[in-house]
């Protein structure tokens, strides 16, 4: 579904700061229906990576193939049409304060020129899916963080995308709300067969949500594989330290942590 080949991103030098390379040749394959996590510390390049998929950031070199099209070759005026096939969910929700829940979810369809009836047909079933039937006409200021993120997720789904990009979607939420949002995403992935790319700095998110994980450090992918395998046998120092953040008994009892994890998932 998505294939990144040797994707590089260098920000040109500006007054006071030298040129900065955020991505040094990323290769990543994401199959249809899969949830792939990209984990790393701040500044590892994971946010740049996810923005290269929907061309919010234009790669300096390399190709990004989404659903068979090399999207780096698209003309600027064709980008909006391409982006409508992808949904994106953000850390800080990025909801319009001037629009109700319903109208926020409707926005992608409105931008695509959908009629009122088409919008209603798409938005009405999404409200119960994310558990917000009773908040239809509320404004974002009246919602909790978890509810806002549910609106963000419904908005990302409203244009019926094949791929959903999740950028630190639980980083602004408390642990209980995080669990609810992650299980909602998992449920949506199963029901709609969506492909998801999940950026995070928390191993717990990877553990609960993802099928595969790529670990990033310094603009490169240092380790990649099935979530279970990576948890059971992390080889790179970055992976080990990210795991140690999550499970305080790691690395003295790595297998215990991994087993506990698979036990929970079963």
């Amino acid at each position: 579904m998505i294939r990144l080949s040797n994707v590089q991103k260098t920000y040109p030098a500006r007054r006071g700061s030298p040129a900065h390379t955020a991505l040094h040749g990323i290769n990543l394959d994401i199959a249809a229906g899969e949830i792939v996590g990209v984990i790393g510390r701040s500044g590892a390049g994971k946010s740049t990576l996810i923005r290269c998929i929907n061309l919010l950031e234009v790669p300096t070199a390399g190709s990004v193939i989404v659903d068979g099209t090399d999207v780096t070759q698209l003309a600027k005026r064709d980008l909006p049409l391409f982006r409508r096939q992808l949904g994106m969910v953000f850390q800080h929700f990025n909801l319009l304060s001037s629009r109700t829940v319903y109208d926020n979810i409707a926005l992608p369809l409105e931008l695509a020129g959908a009629s009122k009836a088409e919008i209603a047909a798409a938005v009405d079933p999404l409200l119960p899916l994310v558990g917000l039937e009773d908040k239809r006409d509320r404004y974002p200021a009246e919602l909790s963080g978890g509810q806002k993120q549910r609106v963000g997720i419904a908005r990302a789904l409203s244009s019926n995308p094949k791929v959903v990009l999740c950028d630190e979607v639980t980083s602004a939420l408390d642990p209980e709300t995080t669990r609810q949002i992650l299980s909602l995403l998992r449920d949506i992935n199963k029901r709609l067969g969506l492909t998801m790319v999940v950026i995070t700095h928390e191993m717990a998110v990877v553990k609960q949500l993802c099928d595969r994980v790529a670990v990033m450090d310094g603009g490169v992918i240092v380790e990649e594989g099935k979530v279970d395998a990576i948890f059971a046998n992390p080889t790179h120092a970055t992976t080990q330290s990210l795991l140690a953040d999550e499970f305080l008994d790691y690395p003295t009892r790595p297998n215990a942590a991994a087993n506990a994890n698979t036990g929970q998932e079963a």
């Binding site: 909006p80 391409f82 982006r83 409508r84 990025n94 304060s97 001037s98 931008l111 974002p140 009246e142």
Partner: protein, 219 residues
């Protein structure tokens, strides 16, 4: 006494209103697009055109740095060209509009710059075209700030409209100067001042109410 004063006062108030409302509407018509361009044409922004911004910015500043009474007199030839005359209430709308355009442009620019950049990114990720980002995201989200700014503009224009009395326009300012000051009628002056205070108060309250209604950030 009041019976003779009241019709004159009413007439002058209506003239002031017509000048201010016309200048506000015309000023917004021209100032809004300029403000949007100022706020979105910087490097890396929606309609990247740094050169354009470098040209239009100083023009806006130059217009704003000329005291209004000087501006009104200096552009009399232009006023005559547009309105056919340089005297009267209709003619006064020309300098008022010229002064309002850069004022409103800066207010719109400021209000748009207050909008969270994350919303622009989200809209682009949804496939919004640049013009849609302006109409669907930036302007609706900036609306409370824009209403506050236009209220400020209206109050400033009421003050300016009193000054255009000096170049032959009507309105409350003209009434105050000609009757109150030049004919030594402190009662007329007092009536004019009180009317101005009431009008400004009303405009401000109306603006605050509209801005509150538009603002959904604190419910």
């Amino acid at each position: 006494m009041f019976a003779t004063l009241a019709p004159i006062l009413l007439q002058a108030t209506l003239e002031t209103f017509s000048m201010v409302i016309s200048a506000l509407v015309l000023g917004t018509t021209f100032g809004l697009p300029i403000g949007v361009i100022l706020a979105t044409s910087g490097r890396g922004e929606l309609f990247e055109a740094p050169l354009f911004q470098k040209i239009i910015g100083p023009i806006v500043n130059a217009t704003r740095s000329v005291p209004f009474i000087i501006l009104a007199v200096a552009i009399i030839p232009f006023t005559r060209l547009v309105a056919g005359t340089s005297i009267g209430t209709a003619a006064a709308i020309v300098p008022l509009t010229v002064a309002a355009i850069p004022f409103i442009a800066r207010i719109i620019e400021g209000a748009i710059r207050e909008v969270d950049g994350g919303l622009v990114e989200a809209a682009q990720a949804m496939g919004a075209r640049p013009f849609q980002v302006v109409t669907k995201v930036l302007l609706p989200e900036a609306l409370p700030g824009i209403i506050h700014g236009l209220t400020l503009t209206a109050v400033t224009l009421i003050g300016y409209s009193a000054m255009v009395g000096a170049v032959g326009a009507g309105g409350l300012g003209d009434l105050g100067i000609r009757y109150g000051y030049q004919r030594f009628r402190p009662d007329v002056m007092a009536a004019v001042v009180i009317t101005l205070i009431v009008v400004v108060q009303m405009v401000q309250s109306l603006g605050d109410w509209l801005a509150r209604k538009a603002d959904k950030r604190n419910i």
